[in-house]
């Protein structure tokens, strides 16, 4: 039966969480789905139980991120099984209970979804084999707990309590992560199998104090140990089923579970003993004392939970095998009786409308059945014989008496234990006496009576379990406990005797003292309450927390405001500075060789080109405020760069660049028509200096990188293409064959980007109108829109340009040319018509919709790539061959021509769409906003 994968247990909860969400609006359906999911988990765990109790440890492993030591691995051993049974078993009862508890107006689907999410996360914690996986699930439990505490979203104090719990447990989770990483590094792996085997090495490591401190940080916050205990009483803002399940039976046990899990690795040192025992002891006594004074039923139970968690912590802290076994035993016992007590408290609240013990009195007459159940469970909490709490408490008492603790501990521990026992008896007595006896109810909102039959069933089952374990422990809990103990103290499981009667021992005497003391203490409670109210006021934890929260918020806003002040100019400066620092820093620290290659002198052409670029670039900067000049200088730079491509033997590139430069300058001039013709002087000298410095550093960095790159030997990819191109594609122009054949997929992406940009421009200009800006000296623009000579000359140019562009397209495979260049040439020719004769004239004669053309071009390119699929080829695979038709001579054909035509059409359409739309902008009527002249100028293309 061990074949059921363990991963299903956490997955059931995590994925099952979706079920109630999609299961329709009916709360009955949601509850049943949730119950089915938990039941399935219980059955699954039950099927695994025999093997595990036989001593097997089931481990499953899926590789996830091996480089980080992170595998999705799970293990089921005795400890995991005990917890799994608690989670799934109590979980099932909670679902049943919640179905009656939650009012029908509550968002029930959310409750069950979050509940199952938590169940899955908790399962993950107890089954994790990899410690990093454990941390992930650990955080998931914190998050689902946060969501459940804040379940009543309209209650501000519930939301605050939820944030408080998340802040505390989340910080603890962070600490745990740090501890686990250190632990994994020291142990040489994150799997428990590895970690558990390297206990001696870990304890001897100099990092051990850090590991211990960080792990305990996670444990103490999760299990609400002093001084982090304050979140748990606040968490009682959650609905009672949540308090019963998360905040007493399961989630808060994750901390002590981890103590048990890592017991073989971390325990046994002086540091462990001192820190864990002390914290546990302080929590145990202080919380038990405080519990007595809570008037809120759930508040009393919450402090009692904190105290019992302290007891368990203290047991693990004492570090002997027997105390560890007692700790595990008490985890189970406490889960059972505390869950039933919370449910009873929930019933009382549900039926009477109050949780205040000053109002609740004499309920035994009104709800006798519930009263009996609650009294038995409270007896278990107090440690009354014949109930499960008695057994583990006796074990605890006798452990504190063990010799070997040394010195004063020998006295402190038993005294503290007895004292906590006294308080426990007193508050348990208060829970019984104050609620069910003690006169008559005072001002209850409702007349209390017994709850619906089925609401009591979960409580009855748990109380029956308290009795069964208490009376016949050997037949009920002992096998599970032995299996769990084997996981906590492997190979060292002490002989433990779960009997009711051990004779007249010192532990029994301590129990007696606790009983008598507790009853006496409760007898003088009025005096104590007065003392408490006078000297121990309730700390305003939520108020402090809110203040801290607000303070952090203010700091964060100030920091953010200092960086993010809304100035794009400043962001840009920061961005450039960061980029330069990263690139330059990486270069400097990598020990980069600043040795450029090639010592030869530059030839005259290169020198000249560099000089022109330098001058034109500098002129652009100097004249940037006179925009038309700056724009023309940018044109000069572009032309010089294309000449540089000629110099370095890149004819395709030079042709493309030339055409693009023409189009770009037209574009910039068109746009300038709508922008101010000059920039106002507004930068301070300081700003200009800072920008110049940044620019200088950026220039030196980029130039230095280029220079350094020349020093590294070239790879052979380019030469490889040159060697293969003719044989494989039949094309001699390697640049073109790379574009349309070898790297055609890249090209397809790039023309898509081009098309998107063009469509973006089109979309942004649609329905958009802008008045032209003032001319530089404030005069009106030249009204002569379409000079006659330009119009006359340009018209015969169109067919010629078309011919040239088709020629460039067709010869591209073998000589400079191809779809890009040809498309740009055609685009320029078309734009010329717009400029010369106006877009109205062109549109009247050339009825092409460029968007359709764009789609056609892109579609053609894409479809030409898909055709090879028909005969099982790859996307964009090409074929080529020779064709010898009569009269026409030899023709070399290649299927990539179709793709290149797609590129060609896309480029024409994009370029013309952008420019024609921008040109039309100047012709739109803007009503009164038109500043100059009564007749509209025909086109915006003045400067061109």
């Amino acid at each position: 039966m061990a074949s059921t994968p363990l991963i299903l247990l956490p997955l059931l909860g995590l994925l099952g969480a979706l079920l109630p969400a999609i299961g329709g609006r009916s709360p009955h359906v949601s509850a049943r789905l949730a119950a089915a999911v938990v039941l399935a988990g219980l059955v699954m765990a039950g099927l695994q139980a025999p093997a595990v109790m036989g001593g097997e440890v089931l481990v499953e492993r899926w590789t996830w991120l091996p480089a980080a030591g992170l595998d999705l691995s799970l293990r089921l051993d005795g400890l995991g099984l005990l917890f799994t049974l608690l989670i799934q078993g109590i979980g099932l009862l909670i679902v049943l209970y919640a179905h009656y508890y939650l009012p029908s107006s509550a968002p029930q689907r959310r409750f069950y979804a979050l509940f199952l999410l938590f169940t899955g996360a908790m399962q993950g914690v107890v089954l994790a084999e990899n410690l990093l996986v454990l941390v992930v699930f650990w955080e998931l439990t914190s998050i689902s707990s946060f969501l459940l505490i804040g379940y009543w979203t309209l209650d501000p104090s519930a939301r605050q309590s939820a944030r408080l719990a998340l802040a505390v447990t989340g910080a603890g989770g962070l600490s745990l992560l740090g501890g686990v990483i250190l632990l994994g590094e020291v142990a040489g792996g994150y799997d428990l199998t590895t970690v558990l085997a390297s206990g001696d090495a870990v304890r001897a490591d100099p990092l051990y104090p850090w590991i211990l401190g960080l792990v305990l940080g996670g444990v103490f916050t999760k299990s609400a140990q002093f001084p982090f205990h304050f979140w748990l009483p606040r968490a009682m803002a959650a609905p009672t089923p949540v308090s019963a399940f998360l905040h007493s039976a399961t989630m808060v046990k994750a901390g002590v579970f981890l103590l048990a899990r890592l017991f073989p690795v971390l325990a046994g040192t002086q540091a462990w003993f001192l820190s864990v025992t002390t914290v546990g002891m302080v929590t145990l006594v202080a919380a038990a004392f405080l519990a007595l004074f809570k008037h809120d039923l759930k508040g009393l139970l919450a402090y009692s939970t904190v105290s019992h968690l302290g007891l368990i912590t203290m047991l693990f802290g004492m570090g002997t095998p027997a105390s560890a076994v007692a700790g595990v035993f008490h985890i189970a016992n406490h889960a059972v009786f505390k869950a039933s007590l919370f449910m009873a408290a929930g019933i009382i609240e549900h039926e009477s409308g109050s949780r205040d013990m000053r109002q609740l009195n004499g309920l035994i007459k009104r709800m006798p059945h519930t009263a009996v159940l609650a009294m038995v469970a409270a007896g278990a909490m107090a440690g009354v014989p014949l109930l499960n709490g008695f057994l583990s408490k006796e074990m605890f008492f006798s452990e504190t008496l063990q010799p070997g603790m040394g010195g004063t501990w020998q006295t402190i521990l038993p005294v503290a234990a007895t004292l906590s026992g006294v308080f426990a008896v007193a508050y348990s007595l208060r829970f019984i006496h104050d609620v069910f006896f003690n006169g008559e109810p005072v001002g209850l909102p409702r007349e209390p009576h017994e709850p619906p039959r089925w609401m009591k069933v979960p409580v009855e089952l748990l109380v029956a379990l308290c009795l069964l374990v208490g009376v016949v422990p050997a037949w009920t809990v002992e096998p599970f406990l032995s299996a769990a103990a084997e996981a906590v103290v492997p190979g060292r499981v002490p002989h433990f005797d779960l009997a009711l009667w051990h004779g007249f021992t010192l532990a029994l005497f301590m129990s007696l003292v606790a009983m008598v003391g507790g009853v006496t203490l409760y007898g003088v409670r009025r005096f104590l309450f007065r003392l408490h109210d006078r000297y121990l006021p309730e700390p305003a934890v939520l108020k402090w927390f809110t203040e801290v929260e607000l303070g952090l918020w203010r700091v964060a806003r100030r920091v953010l405001g200092a960086w993010e002040n809304g100035s794009l100019q400043r962001y840009m400066a920061l961005l450039v500075a960061a980029a330069v620092a990263l690139a330059g820093g990486a270069f400097l620290t990598s020990g980069g060789r600043l040795a450029g290659g090639g010592g030869e002198w530059p030839d005259l052409a290169t020198l000249l080109l560099a000089l022109v670029v330098a001058l034109a670039g500098a002129a652009t900067v100097v004249q940037q405020r006179q925009r038309i000049q700056a724009l023309l200088w940018v044109g000069v730079v572009g032309l010089t760069v294309s000449l540089t491509f000629v110099r370095f033997a890149a004819p395709d590139l030079a042709l493309t660049m030339l055409a693009v430069e023409v189009v770009s300058v037209i574009l910039l001039l068109l746009a300038l028509y709508f922008l101010p013709q000059s920039s106002p002087p507004e930068s301070t000298p300081w700003h200009r200096g800072r920008d110049a410095l940044l620019a200088g550093v950026a220039g030196v960095t980029v130039g230095g990188l280029v220079w350094a790159a020349q020093g590294t030997p070239a790879t052979g990819i380019g030469r490889d293409y040159l060697a293969r191109t003719v044989a494989e594609t039949g094309g001699a122009n390697a640049v073109n064959t790379i574009l349309v054949d070898y790297r055609a997929f890249d090209t397809l992406g790039e023309i898509t980007v081009l098309g998107i940009a063009a469509l973006g421009v089109f979309a942004m200009l649609r329905g958009f109108a802008l008045p032209p800006a003032r001319e530089l000296r404030g005069r009106r623009w030249d009204p002569d829109a379409h000079p006659l000579i330009l119009a006359t000359l340009s018209r015969p140019l169109l067919p010629l340009a078309t011919l040239v562009s088709l020629y460039l397209l067709l010869r591209g495979h073998n000589a400079p040319g191809g779809g890009f260049v040809a498309g740009l040439v055609m685009g320029v020719a078309l734009i010329l018509q717009y400029l010369a004769s106006g877009s109205r004239w062109v549109r009247g004669r050339l009825q092409v919709r460029y968007r359709v053309l764009l789609a056609l071009g892109l579609g053609l390119a894409a479809v030409s790539g898909m055709v090879p699929w028909l005969w099982g080829g790859a996307f964009l695979e090409s074929a080529h061959g020779e064709w010898h038709p009569r009269l026409l001579g030899d023709i070399h054909w290649n299927t990539t021509l179709v793709f290149d035509i797609g590129v060609y059409l896309t480029v024409i359409a994009s370029v013309t769409l952008i420019l024609a739309e921008l040109g039309r902008l100047g012709q739109k009527r803007i009503g009164r906003q038109r500043p100059y002249g009564s007749t509209a100028p025909e086109t915006g293309g003045k400067g061109a």
Partner: protein, 111 residues
């Protein structure tokens, strides 16, 4: 030789960055244009700066040929940088319309 081209690229970058940090949209766009020239040159020069080469046209003559791969990469980059310039220009126009100013932060009124 390499120092000369490196200087060219570095100079273009410096001019581009300075313009990029200006306050008005058009100089910023001009800065972008200069920067894209610089970027294209960086990419192109990745193929080396030999003094004497011939174009990568197989069978067109004797002697070493230039590296075709950077050329192909830059060719599409040139076209795309045009598209980007166009897009940013239109953004600048819309910006001026909606903010009544061509300042990049839209704060100060047009002079």
């Amino acid at each position: 030789m390499t120092l000369t081209v490196a200087f060219m690229v570095g100079w273009l970058t410096a001019c581009g960055v300075y313009l990029l940090l200006r306050a008005r949209t058009l100089p910023v766009i001009l800065g972008l244009v200069l920067l894209s020239h610089a970027a294209n040159l960086v990419l192109f020069l990745g193929g080396g700066v030999p003094a004497e080469v011939r174009p990568p046209l197989v069978g067109s003559g004797e002697g070493p040929m230039a590296d075709p791969l950077p050329q192909a990469l830059v060719l599409t980059a040139v076209v795309i940088s045009f598209a980007m310039t166009a897009f940013v220009l239109i953004l600048a126009l819309r910006n001026r319309r909606s903010l009544k100013s061509d300042h990049v932060d839209g704060e100060r009124r047009e002079s």
